[in-house]
């Protein structure tokens, strides 16, 4: 009993402060979460239009598609159909995420209407090392994914970055971040393609 009393005598301020600070953060989060989500939505749409210039708007095609991201973890994502001004499907877009070098990397991945070629990826959020890992946002690396096939991508240390194939040349000095992007793309692309074929949203490639 004396030990419990001693514990509270020593740490009551810490316990009270933790509760108050937690409450403060919860209130701030509740107040601004809507705006933060709206900003993310706007950023998502801007990236989709940047990668699919024909896209005028997008609509949710499939919601809460579960993707196994390894180590028994699953992540849910929504697949959006990019539509042109005349309502034609001009591509597909979805968010995907995985572990980077420093923190989680969250991407927007876009593919063409037939789900045969990538339209590219955009970075929604990442905390990769400035000057090194954050080069995953640079056009040099992003351009390699444009028109790449929607098959398994392979990361190469050397190669021709201009050739549109499944080989992606890593960023010098940022192999872990480069590999993280390729792993995220491979993890989500294959499973989402299978899911969409099952749902009849795209052909089965035969």
């Amino acid at each position: 009993m004396d030990k419990v009393k001693y514990f509270f005598q020593q740490s009551w301020l810490l316990i009270v402060a933790s509760f108050c600070f937690g409450l403060l953060i919860a209130v701030a989060n509740a107040g601004w979460q809507g705006r933060i989500l709206q900003n993310e939505e706007d950023k998502f749409n801007n990236l989709v239009v940047e990668m699919i210039p024909d896209a005028n708007t997008s609509e949710v095609a499939l919601e809460n598609v579960e993707v196994e991201s390894g180590k028994g973890k699953t992540r849910a994502t929504s697949i959006r159909k990019a539509l042109s001004a005349d309502g034609q499907c001009v591509g597909w877009a979805f968010t995907c995420e995985g572990s980077g070098f420093a923190d989680k990397i969250k991407l927007v991945l876009t593919v063409d209407a037939g789900f045969e070629k990538l339209k590219g990826y955009g970075v929604l959020s990442s905390n990769e090392t400035p000057g090194f890992g954050d080069k995953i946002k640079d056009q040099f690396y992003r351009n390699q994914f444009v028109d790449a096939p929607t098959t398994e991508l392979v990361l190469m240390k050397l190669g021709a970055p201009d050739v549109k194939d499944a080989e992606i040349v890593a960023i010098s000095g940022a192999t872990v971040s480069s590999e993280a992007v390729v792993t995220i793309v491979n993890t989500f692309l294959g499973q989402i393609k299978s899911h969409m074929q099952e749902k009849g949203q795209i052909g089965n490639g035969n």
Binding site: Q10, S11, L13, L14, A17, S18, F21, L24, I25, A28, N29, W32, R35, I36, N39, K43, A102, D103, S125, S126, N127, P130, G131, D134
Partner: protein
């Protein structure tokens, strides 16, 4: 003979000015070097970082000063860190909600304010030993000194690296941008030259 009011006013003025020059956190105390080097490639992110630090510094000094008589010596650093982390999280959420571009530009450096030595230094050296008013003035002075230093460094670097200030062209047509100044090497060179200049002005050479 000076009255109590004059003495107090003099103390406040002295405390406020200390952070701007005599005890400038960057030039005189060499604290907060990580953001000083990392976010000074342009003035806008440097100013945003400075404002975040002022907010966190003022709020944490207020809280630490108010609970200074309740602090247990062996738990004080834990309490400081908890307090600072709370206000950094709020600043981070605010930027994500209202300044998403700056939030993305600053990336991990806003959460890293938690480990910024200036803030924990002022909590330990000033707020935990002084009344509320002097703690707030100290925070404002130190925060303003840090912000002005960051802006001065960023101004030089942005001007030489891009020929712009706040994104607007200010240099004549014949000016050739010096790209290296926007890179990490530019941060070290500019900081070193400015430190040398400040030491020369104050006549304090090692």
């Amino acid at each position: 003979m000076a009255t109590d009011g004059e003495v107090t006013a003099g103390l406040y003025k002295d405390t406020l000015l200390a952070g701007l020059w005599r005890e400038n956190p960057v030039f005189r105390l060499l604290l907060g070097m990580c953001p000083t080097l990392a976010v000074t490639a342009a003035v806008k992110p440097a100013l945003t970082m400075g404002c975040c630090v002022i907010f966190v510094l003022v709020c944490s000094n207020i809280v630490v000063s108010l609970m200074r008589n309740l602090l247990r010596p062996h738990l004080r650093i834990l309490m400081f860190t908890l307090t600072i982390a709370t206000f950094v999280t709020i600043a981070d959420l605010f930027l994500k909600a209202f300044q998403p571009e700056m939030s993305a530009a600053l990336g991990p450096y806003v959460p890293l304010i938690i480990v910024n030595c200036i803030i924990i230094c002022r909590a330990e050296a000033c707020a935990s030993k002084n009344a509320l008013a002097i703690s707030i003035i100290d925070a404002v002075g130190m925060g303003a000194g840090f912000t002005l230093t960051l802006c001065a460094l960023a101004g030089v670097r942005e001007l030489l690296a891009t020929g712009k200030l706040f994104g607007a062209s200010v240099m004549p047509d014949w000016f050739v941008p010096w790209a290296a100044m926007g890179m990490p090497v530019g941060a070290f060179v500019t900081l070193g030259l400015m430190l040398g200049l400040v030491n020369t002005i104050t006549g304090k050479k090692d």
